[in-house]
Amino acid sequence: MGVAVLFLRGVVAARASRALVAFATSRRPLRTSPRSRAFAKELFLGKIEKKEVFPFPEVSQDELNDITQFVGPVEKFFAEEVDSQRIDREGRIPDETLEKLKSLGLFGMQVPEEYGGLGLSNTMYTRLGEIIGLDASIAVTLAAHQAIGLKGIILAGNKEQKARYLPKLASGEHIAAFCLTEPSSGSDVASIKSRATLSEDKKHYILNGSKVWITNGGMANIFTVFAKTEVVDSDSSVKDKITAFIVERDFGGVTNGKPEDKLGIRGSNTCAVHFENTRVPIENVLGEVGGGFKVAMSTLNSGRFSMGSMVAGLLKKLIEMTAAYACMRKQFNKSLSEFGLIQEKFALMAQKAYVMESMAYLTAGMLDQPGFPDCSIEAAMVKVFSSEGAWQCVSEALQVLGGSGYMRDYPYERLLRDSRILLIFEGTNEILRMYIALTGLQHAGRILTARVNELKRGNVSTVVETIGQKLRDSLGRTVDLGLTGKLGVVHPSVEDSARKLEENAYYFGRTVETLLLRFGKTIVEEQMVLKRVANILINLYGMTAVLSRASRSIRMGIRNHDHEVLLANIFCAEAYYQNLFTLSQLDKYSPENLDEQIKKVSQQVLEKQAYICAHPLERTD
């Protein structure tokens, strides 16, 4: 195996040198060039930023070879040596497995080469995620280590910090953990209770506080800890602000609770971590003092997009396993695969896998573009779509498997348990939907300010123009945003779907304008509206991703591209009708909009904190 690792390192080194050359030649000048607008944000204005998403991002042949060479040993290792059932049963990853993961370099996938990591691009990281996702416990352990644990050092650390910590973290000698959550504080940063006070000699911070549900908390040596510090503001008032610290276990005063007993991802180590008078040197402040909020936010935003490929990898494996069962199992002299209701489930799984794979690689490709593009909305959309897809597909797979899906002797129930966490961690899907919708609405709201203000003031020409537009819309206009046609970016095989996307995108833009006109900045409080906005956007992004990918596949003549066309068309049609429904729900007076009733019901239930209907058998006399 050592040879394999050496080989791997060689490949990476070769790739790295090429990358360095490319960096020197192409990246510099491009970074200063004005960036085109982000795709998702423009969708809020009803526009499709074609350049961002068409054609589907590609990697060069060299890079592809690298990836293939690199992926092989990892795939082999996961197929042959990782015993997921044992990890789940024993509640920990065996040491030899961890050692092997370290020797494969998987602990430093995105650490730059100069610090001993693999320095993988986002696309390559995504590709590896497909394999790592096969075991959720390992995936979570690795993600907590590098997607969030040491990400802060890469993003905000200075040279000394990077040189000091990254090499050991990249090799896996040290494991990192991200300590943000507290008993009283989830996404609410203001309620963080941990506190770091400057010592008398001004060389240390004394850190005190407790963090809960820290993945890798029991085995990590390096912690990224967020705590409140007193910061003198510009107007010389003292304020509490969040600061990020790199804390070594050896600093003393770091203890952890016993590992939590969890529903899924049982092999990952999750526990509480306590800091008691831990002396943190001031050199270990990550970023600026008082700048911890930004560090936490950028770390979390950057860690999300990889979930898409992890789930896609899992689903591909799941389809294989379930399909084998469905073809083998016979009922009424027919194999399960001949029943329509079973077939439907496989189509669903294939479709979901295809969409999330497309979304994940499209996002990774966008992130790999020069200029550090901000794709946090896209990443959040990938996370929401893939986590929900995972839960739905695993559940459907269990349905195919019937009783054996429910038994502990088979691996399927573990997949179900493992996939449940995906909807919760890295920002719950509800919170991410708020993020998706609000970030986009902020962008659209700024651009539409002038227009909205004119409408509110009752500027005649604007009002007339708006009414005219509404009339034209209601009379059924054909929307053409330039995806299709003779020089269109979309292949004619998926032209219908592209039209659907265009129509959805256009009316979405109109709806966003109406919503902004109706609610203005108070739209923050309209969570049910925001959820729908986010749902439409996720669908639109999924449609774009599959259309882009399918078009590329057809034009290149890739294997089974007709299957891709089918999947793309199915998804687009389904998403189109869903979007139409959701758009009509966003209409104030539509019969589909039940917000008022829904709010009333929940209000009454929550007031009594119980289900308040009388028992069906109750009588009044």
């Binding site: 943000l180 996404s187 609410d188 940063v189 203001a190 602000k241 969040i242 909020f293 936490a296 936010m297 979390l300 920002g427 919170i431 991410l432 708020m434 993020y435 609000l438 970030t439 609405l441 902020q442 709201g445 700024r446 300010t449 909205v452 203000n453 509110k456 902004l516 006109l517 109706r518 609610f519 203005g520 900045k521 108070t522 739209i523 923050v524 104030k588 007031e607 009594k608 904190q609 009388a614 009044t620 006399d621």
Partner: protein, 433 residues
């Protein structure tokens, strides 16, 4: 002709301030006015509209001299035992003594009056038994003419009286009642009409009250206080604390006056509001205010503060670095349009925050000071805040003996100086403790 069939409304009066658990955001009203608002309920206690109708028996339309006729039936019962068995026996005796049922209308009126004494006024079986006293088939109209002109009006009226008493006690008639009424008066009769209306409306109004009070109130004053407090504070996360149990519990309701019960309620929101209260501003213990639970009146006190003057109110601003995941406010310069603005243009009554409510067996300052002491355990901030007792004395209390007598108006509120004195005393007390 039976008219309204509404079940009697249970009075559960609450002063407006008590229902509002925390702050009511509204423009300011001077201190005196806010106080008057709270006192108003107490001052009006003696008014007759709050007092439940006296439990005097219904005056039957029957001649009073007939009373003597059947009174002996009810006096045959062994002395002291006035229960259902004896009542039933009396009714049965009437049937046995009087084969022709002569004077049954008078007897029924008498029995209706006696029901409360025997504690059977809510017993459906007894009402059915009473209806059974009527002779059957005799009063049924046999022709259209008979049914147009009220047939046997006196008997029908008596039947209606039985149903009306059922109604006022909230007793729902059943199938047996229906059979009896049909047998006695026939389908087309006024008692039957009354019955049908009762059947219709009772079921609809039975659960109309969103804050139901149990039919049988607990006898223990502590339990009653708990019930009353829960009734006023619908927030389920509120905690009820018994700060002091009555010292002697042998006779219910008549606890030793030295150690009356003290029961309080507080929500987490109120606790937080109290913790944030500016210690330079005093808080007030006010009361007693009355609360009616069915036919019982209980008294409560509130701990409240005055509304902050506008210049001292902290504008709740959204910190910039609050939510890690999504923006808590959008940076846009336009707000909600009129179409989606559902805020009614209403004149809001302004009131300071209420921090806690308590019910105590006594309304003097010593007792309430114990409550404040108890509150300090869960609200450490209270130790720093001066507490002013503004008690209306016993004037607010409704006494059974003097319920009919006009009470003197409440004494004018103590002059400012006195209040300050109390204030200072309290400060000293706080300082010592």
């Amino acid at each position: 002709m039976p008219t309204g069939t509404l079940p009697r409304k249970e009075p559960a009066q609450q002063p407006p301030g008590a229902q509002i658990p925390a702050m009511v955001l509204c423009p300011q009203v001077p201190l005196r006015a806010a106080r008057g608002l709270h006192c108003s309920a107490a001052a009006r206690n003696s008014d007759s509209w709050l007092v439940p109708p006296p439990p005097e028996p219904r005056k039957g339309p029957g001649p009073t001299k007939a009373l003597a006729l059947h009174e002996e039936l009810f006096q045959q019962a062994p002395a002291g035992a006035r229960d259902k068995a004896n009542f039933v026996r009396a009714v049965q005796n009437f049937g046995q003594h009087n084969v022709h049922k002569r004077g049954h209308v008078d007897f029924i009126y008498l029995a209706l009056r006696k029901m409360r004494e025997y504690g059977v006024e809510r017993d459906l079986a007894v009402y059915n038994l009473l209806l059974d006293v009527f002779p059957k088939e005799v009063f049924r109209p046999r022709s259209i003419i008979q049914s147009i002109f009220i047939h046997y009006p006196r008997q029908q009226e008596c039947g209606i009286a039985v149903l009306e008493q059922m109604e006022s006690h909230g007793v729902m008639p059943n199938k047996e009642t229906e059979f009896l009424l049909i047998q006695i008066f026939g389908r087309k009769s006024y008692p039957m009409l009354k019955f049908v209306r009762m059947k219709l409306w009772f079921s609809r109004f039975k659960n109309i009250n969103p804050f139901p009070v149990p039919r049988d109130l607990p006898q223990d004053p502590v339990d009653l206080a708990k019930l009353g407090l829960r009734h006023m504070e619908p927030n389920l996360s509120a905690t009820v604390t018994i700060y002091q149990m009555p010292s002697s519990k042998d006779s219910t309701g008549a606890a030793d006056p030295a150690e009356p019960h003290i029961v309080g309620i507080q929500t987490p929101d109120q606790q937080a509001a109290l913790a944030n209260h500016n210690p330079a501003r005093p808080v007030f213990v006010e009361g007693p205010f009355s609360l009616w639970l069915r036919d019982k009146c209980v008294y409560y006190h509130i701990l409240r503060a005055d509304l902050l003057p506008p210049e001292e109110r902290e504008v709740e601003e959204i910190p910039e670095e609050w939510n890690l995941y999504y923006p808590m406010q959008l940076d846009l310069d336009y707000g909600r349009s009129g179409w989606d603005d559902y805020e009614f243009d209403i004149h809001k009554v302004e009131e300071g925050p209420v921090f806690a409510i308590c019910m105590a067996g006594a309304h003097d300052q010593a007792t309430l000071a114990k409550w404040i002491q108890g509150l300090q355990e869960t609200n450490p901030a209270l130790a720093q805040i001066p507490v002013v007792f503004r008690l209306a004395g016993s004037t607010g209390e409704l006494r059974e003996s003097s319920s009919g007598v006009k009470e003197p108006p409440p004494p004018p509120p103590p002059p400012e100086g006195q209040e300050e004195e109390e204030d200072n005393q309290q400060r000293q007390q706080q300082g010592q403790s």
